[in-house]
Amino acid sequence: MTRAGFEKRVFGALRWVVIAFLAVITLFPFYYMAVLSVKPIDQLLLDPGRIWVSASEFTLDTYRTVLASTDDGGQGFLRLLANSAVVSLGTVALTLLASIPGAYAVSRLRFFGGRQVSALFLAVYLFPATLLAVPLFVIFARIGLQGSLVGLAVVYIAQTVPVSIYMLRNYFATIPKSIEEAAALDGCSRPAIVRKIVLPLAAPSLMATGLYVFMIAWNEFLFALLFLAADPSLWTVSLGLQQLANGIEVPKTVLMAGSVVLTVPVVALFYAAERMLTEGLTSGADKS
């Protein structure tokens, strides 16, 4: 057998091993999460090695406990879900509002200082969140916005505007210029072109960017911890899960139900928009 033929066989077999390995490592933790969330805690402690759930032990009490309000003896995750939703949706609205005009300008218009502004927008994408944590913590302590969901949404803009600009400018660049030019010839003003032509054409990409921003805000943990830890009624789901996981009072299976509740919205949104999202993120990568 030639060397090329031999390699072809080896790599051909290896490929399936790799594929199986990848499928197991990516899916197993989530399968484990789902299984443990419908098991009573004593079954887990009795036989930790069993990774399925029998019909007799199957229970949804974990979900009831985690979602019920604290007055009813639950963990109040419904309220936390509402908090997370408010913060995340607020962040999406504020971020898109702030980043659309700038992204349009740097991808489409030639103006004085345009290159420098464009470089700045790229640079802030790389600024570390740790540098922002200290001053934002201080500012918010000072003006008393600490412990407010609106304050948190404002802080999240700092996390999401750079990546939002980056994605939007890539999308805007794919809209043919001739369409805008035709509108300009017909006497359309610049703001009208953006509102009536560019934004409708870019609607799918606005959706994708909005979803990505939503995911960042929904998953965020550090700033929620810094700003909201003191007030349990304002916790986001991420923060609530972490705070409860630190203690020993709440059974792990109940917290697994909490993890599922935290994960499902993001993963569902991701699947709904997977193609748009992955193309938006990597659109720069295939130009070497």
């Binding site: 090329a4 072809k8 790599f11 594929i19 990848l22 499928a23 990516t26 899916l27 484990y32 999460m33 402690l45 090695g49 990774i51 702030a98 005009p101 700038g102 992204a103 349009y104 218009l109 030639r110 103006f111 004085f112 345009g114 502004v117 700045l120 802030v124 570390p128 740790t130 540098l131 922002l132 944590a133 200290v134 934002l136 913590f137 201080v138 500012i139 302590a141 404002v154 803009i157 505007v161 750079p162 210029k177 010839l185 610049r190 929904w218 998953n219 943990f221 991420s238 972490q242 996981a245 792990k252 697994m256 599922v260 994960t263 993963v267 699947y271 990597t282 990568a285 295939d286 070497s288």
Partner: protein, 337 residues
């Protein structure tokens, strides 16, 4: 200077009839575009300056003042300048080892996630049944909330009821459960030599690789699919094996993306707080610098020291990137040509 230069895909200057041979109208159109550009960019610019650039500048100011959170209401923006914060940071116990830990953690996670991402991209390159499904599910570790996935890992790795230790002791014959997240070192004998292995740090690095290889996979797959087929066919006809084709045809094509990924992951991981804090709380030899910033801020309310620590972290990162660009980026450029 705002006039469109020839060769670029500039907008036409003004209405067609007016443009030809009338420089005056061209300038007007360019000026109009200039005004529109400034008008469009300013709201975004103001927001970016207000929420990102100004706070970071303030971090720099804070790092040179002895400020604690209690007296933040009374001190002004410009107080007494001092280097005391940096002195405190550099002489605080465990600073240098923490920097070293951060470096190991960053390099290990970055290299590992890109390597696994590359393997994954190569394996999923050609279509097979269920590829789309697998491709989608491989991205889930990356998009799932960090608090949820760290919690699942914690339970999986628990010495009392975790699946990994259960299977390890039952099926693989481990002597005792391993405390993956709270054990600093373990001695492993390799060929009769006792080697100390940093258990918790390795676990955290493995977690990072698991969580971020999808990111590398996504970029590398996109690039792989843009490689023209002819290149590989030509190599195969010339008798090249798969390994040679990969080494001399594919890898040079992928190098620019790999180096971009390396820079991105290096920056993101170096400043990572959530993952380590949630898995180990910064204990058992995993005290990366970002966790120390958080502790200065919340445990001691020492704003000045926290700012100084964050600044030192950023400075080290800048040096690291400088070294990277000086050595690796140039080589990549040469290989790509």
């Amino acid at each position: 200077m705002t006039r469109p230069s020839p060769g670029t895909s500039a907008r036409p200057a003004g209405p067609p009839g007016a443009a030809r041979g009338r420089p005056a109208r061209r300038t007007t159109a360019a000026a109009r575009e200039n005004r529109a550009g400034l008008a469009f960019v300013s709201p975004t610019l103001i927001v970016v300056l207000a929420v990102v650039v100004l706070p970071i500048l303030w971090t720099v100011l804070l790092a040179f003042q002895r400020t604690r959170l209690v007296d933040i209401q009374t001190t002004g923006l410009f107080g007494n300048w001092t280097l005391r914060n940096f002195e405190l940071v550099f002489t605080s116990p465990g600073f240098w080892s923490s920097l070293w830990t951060t470096l190991l953690y960053t390099v290990g996670s970055t290299a590992g996630s890109i390597a696994l991402g590359l393997v994954a991209a190569l394996a999923l390159r050609r279509p097979f049944r269920g590829r789309g499904l697998l491709r989608g599910s491989m991205l889930v570790p990356y998009v799932a909330p960090v608090v949820a996935v760290t919690f699942v890992w914690e339970v999986m790795l628990s010495p009392q009821y975790g699946i990994v230790n259960e299977w390890g002791t039952e099926l693989l014959g481990w002597d005792a459960p391993i405390a993956f997240l709270s054990q600093r070192n373990a001695d492993v004998s390799v060929l009769g030599v006792q080697l100390p292995v940093p258990v918790a740090l390795l676990t955290v690095i493995v977690f990072e690789i698991w969580r971020y290889f999808p990111f590398a996979f996504l970029f590398l797959l996109a690039r792989l699919q843009a490689v023209p087929n002819g290149l590989e066919e030509a190599a195969t006809i010339d008798g090249a094996g798969l390994w040679q084709t990969f080494r001399h045809i594919l890898l040079p094509q992928l190098m620019p993306v790999i180096s971009l990924l390396a820079v991105l992951r290096l920056i993101m991981t170096f400043n990572k707080f959530d993952d380590v804090y949630l898995l180990t709380g910064g204990g058992a030899g995993t005290d990366v610098v970002a966790v120390r910033v958080y502790e200065f801020l919340t445990a001691r309310f020492d704003v000045g020291a926290a700012a100084a620590q964050a600044l030192v972290l950023a400075a080290v990162l800048t040096v690291l990137l400088g070294v990277y660009f000086a050595f690796f980026a140039r080589r990549t450029q040469e290989e790509a040509q």
